[in-house]
């Protein structure tokens, strides 16, 4: 079924999504075949289901990846009609990054169920690295756009002004251990221990 179906899969996000659709369909089909064979060999349906459950979980996950990727692409296509060209580029880069990332993560599935070649895998890797490079200048802008106020983040590392090291020190000073110059355990345990009196 995949033959000729995924001709453009390695250079368009649409193609990757089609590739994932084939993977999901084949995985579900494989589960049905395996369970049917088990039942035909005399196993109860429930036992066949249990025996196949690792594959079933993987099939459900593959289906979910299709839903997330295809929804992401469709909605970005829809949004891109109304946004500025600059934002449109960034949104498409995010879709590409997400789809290519998962294509590389699930390479074994694609190799098993689609006619992907070694050359195409190499191209996918290049595509992924190039997309990272394209997104790099906008990395901070992208997270600024989430518009999370410092009071909501409450993080020493993530504040808008970037005063990371100052905040880390301020927080360190809140440790109750810093409230006194010498902790009582020094006299009670550590000193006798150090002096060999314990």
């Amino acid at each position: 079924a995949a033959d000729g179906f995924c001709d453009s899969w390695s250079n368009t996000t649409d193609g990757i999504i089609r590739g994932f659709q084939v993977v999901a369909m084949r995985k579900i089909g494989q589960c049905v075949t395996v369970m049917t064979n088990r039942v035909n060999r005399g196993m109860s349906f429930e036992d066949a289901w249990n025996m196949t459950s690792v594959q079933l979980v993987a099939a459900a996950e593959a289906h979910c990846r299709v839903i997330i990727m295809s929804t992401f692409l469709e909605e970005v296509q829809e949004m891109s009609r109304t946004v500025s060209p600059q934002l449109k580029d960034v949104l498409y880069q995010l879709v590409e990054l997400y789809c290519v990332y998962w294509a590389l993560e699930k390479l074994s599935d694609l190799l098993l169920y689609t006619p992907i070649s070694q050359k195409e895998v190499e191209l996918l890797r290049l595509w992924y690295e190039e997309t990272l490079t394209k997104l790099r200048p906008n990395a901070v802008g992208l997270v600024d756009a989430f518009d999370l106020r410092d009071e909501m983040l409450q993080s020493t590392l993530g504040s808008y002004d970037g005063r990371v090291y100052e905040r880390l020190m301020e927080e360190a000073m809140k440790s109750p251990l810093n409230a006194e110059p010498v902790n009582h355990t020094f006299h009670k345990y550590l000193k006798p221990f150090m002096q060999g009196k314990l």
């Binding site: 099939a59 992401f72 600059q86 960034v90 990054l97 790099r136 997270v143 756009a145 990371v164």
Partner: protein
């Protein structure tokens, strides 16, 4: 402003405000969100104090109650001013729980996220009139108890019984074994005075499966546990330690007949059982909660990746080329690989969650008209999206923590706390593997009917593939 961060902002190629507006869903939504944040943060100074990490378990609960009461009284104020309604309180409460005002969760969270929706979805008009106003203004605090010590996602296996006594017109709630004790409900420990309990219904000697009952667990004045109940908190956990998760056991505890939630199935005064029009109608509440979880994941993921990317722009380490200054760690492709896909995932999840929310509302409207056709699809979709987004978000938050090196290990980075909140979601409201198997069941059924059936939208690709 740190100079490196400023340089990053200067070279951004798109209008940040435009993307923010897109994320919020329009300028009006952005304004509404900012208004809500302003209200919630208006009493910020009262939340400041000793960091929670340095408090004992008991002190953390007491602090969480104090903060939650302040925070939710602000929500109540917004309600009084007409700034919230039943339809948008998901945003309001989600925003509040997702904010760091309540850093490690809230004992009042389940009241909004499950107690009220359950009354809405499962209570008849009379019950809604009786309970919702009291719940809405928090004159009662509720929880939702389904999971038992010995029984999780498989709800048909629940042991708690609710046996109808026609003579007294009461249900008798009972926990026949230790494994039947309700276990984990947020706020049930020392906070809630009411609770929706899921139990096996028995009437006229026959079991009719699981149904929901609204139970008063504590006296409204003294807050003492009512006789016949054994109630308490389950103890320290990996995260969510301010949520006051509780246990609850019943010793032949009696409630009025009218406390069974009867929007769908009913028990008449003489004990006659009137079956629900559709046995799957209760799935609506579960789907709702799972949609909320997906939105929660978007919030947590956005927070984690904001922290990690800003830090990666500020942090300098090693030289890319000999003789050059230490470079920003964000310039390393391995760092970009760790983080940028998390940004993409946050957008992918938000967009998918929005679509799931729209589908949920469409299917709910169809349910009211008696059309159940898309319910299995919606349920399967919510199950797998909850499972995949929680697992992926947990992995992403961990990547963000690792991307921040040792500093990400500090509690003050908020990343460990965020991981604790996110990884809990992999387990609650349906353990992920179990949920994926539920989706698989739907997919297998669909696959076996490929030739004969018109496929619903989310699985239509199976035919073309």
């Amino acid at each position: 402003i740190n100079q490196d961060l400023q340089r990053e902002r200067d070279k951004c190629t798109f209008n940040i405000q435009e993307l923010t507006t897109l994320i919020d869903g329009g300028p009006e939504k952005t304004r509404e969100r900012k208004d809500r944040e302003n209200v919630m943060l208006s009493k910020r100074e009262v939340f400041d104090g000793v960091p929670e990490e340095y408090l004992s378990h008991k002190e953390r609960y007491e602090n969480a109650i104090r903060n939650s009461v302040i925070a939710f009284s602000l929500v109540r104020k917004m309600q009084e001013e007409g700034k919230t309604s039943i339809s948008n309180y998901r945003d309001v409460v989600g925003g509040l729980l997702g904010s760091s005002v309540l850093r490690d969760g809230s004992p009042l969270g389940l009241h909004y996220i499950m107690f009220m929706p359950a009354i809405l979805n499962q209570g008849n008009e009379e019950q809604q009139e009786k309970w919702l106003p009291r719940a809405w203004n928090c004159s009662i605090i509720g929880s939702y108890a389904q999971t038992e010590l010995g029984h999780g996602t498989f709800i048909r296996g629940l042991e708690t019984t609710a046996t109808y006594d026609a003579a007294a017109k009461q249900f008798v709630l009972h926990s026949p074994t230790l494994t039947a004790y309700k276990w984990w409900p947020g706020g049930l420990g020392q906070t809630a005075n009411y609770c929706i309990v899921v139990a096996q219904l028995y009437t006229k000697g026959q079991c009719h499966g699981i149904h929901s009952f609204i139970i008063q667990v504590r006296d409204e004045e003294t807050h003492m546990p009512l006789p016949g109940l054994k109630i308490g908190e389950i103890g320290a956990k990996l995260g969510l330690n301010a949520v006051n998760n509780g246990f609850l056991g019943f010793d032949n505890f009696r409630i009025p007949r009218t406390n069974m939630l009867m929007k769908h199935a009913q028990v008449l005064e003489d004990g006659t059982y009137v079956k629900s029009r559709h046995s799957k109608l209760n799935y609506g509440a579960m789907v709702f909660v799972r949609v909320v979880i997906v939105f929660d994941m978007v919030n947590y993921l956005s927070k984690a990746v904001t922290i990690a990317i800003r830090f990666s722009a500020v942090r300098r380490q090693c030289q890319l080329k000999a003789g050059e200054a230490e470079c920003q760690i964000l310039d390393y492709v391995t760092q970009q690989h760790k983080l940028l896909v998390c940004v993409a995932a946050a957008h992918a999840f938000r967009i998918t969650a929005n679509k799931l929310w729209v589908t949920f509302n469409e299917v709910n409207e169809q349910l009211v008209e008696g059309n159940m056709q898309r319910l299995p699809e919606l349920h399967a979709l919510a199950c797998c999206l909850k499972a995949v987004t929680t697992a992926d978000t947990a992995a992403c938050v961990e990547r963000c923590r690792l991307a921040c090196g040792g500093h990400g290990y500090m509690m003050s980075s908020s990343l460990p706390l965020t991981y604790g909140l996110v990884t809990a979601a992999c387990t609650y409201e349906g353990e992920n593997t179990v949920l994926l198997l539920q989706t698989a069941r739907f997919l297998v059924k669909t696959y076996q009917q490929l030739d004969s059936k018109t496929l619903t939208p989310t699985v239509a690709y199976l035919k073309s593939a």
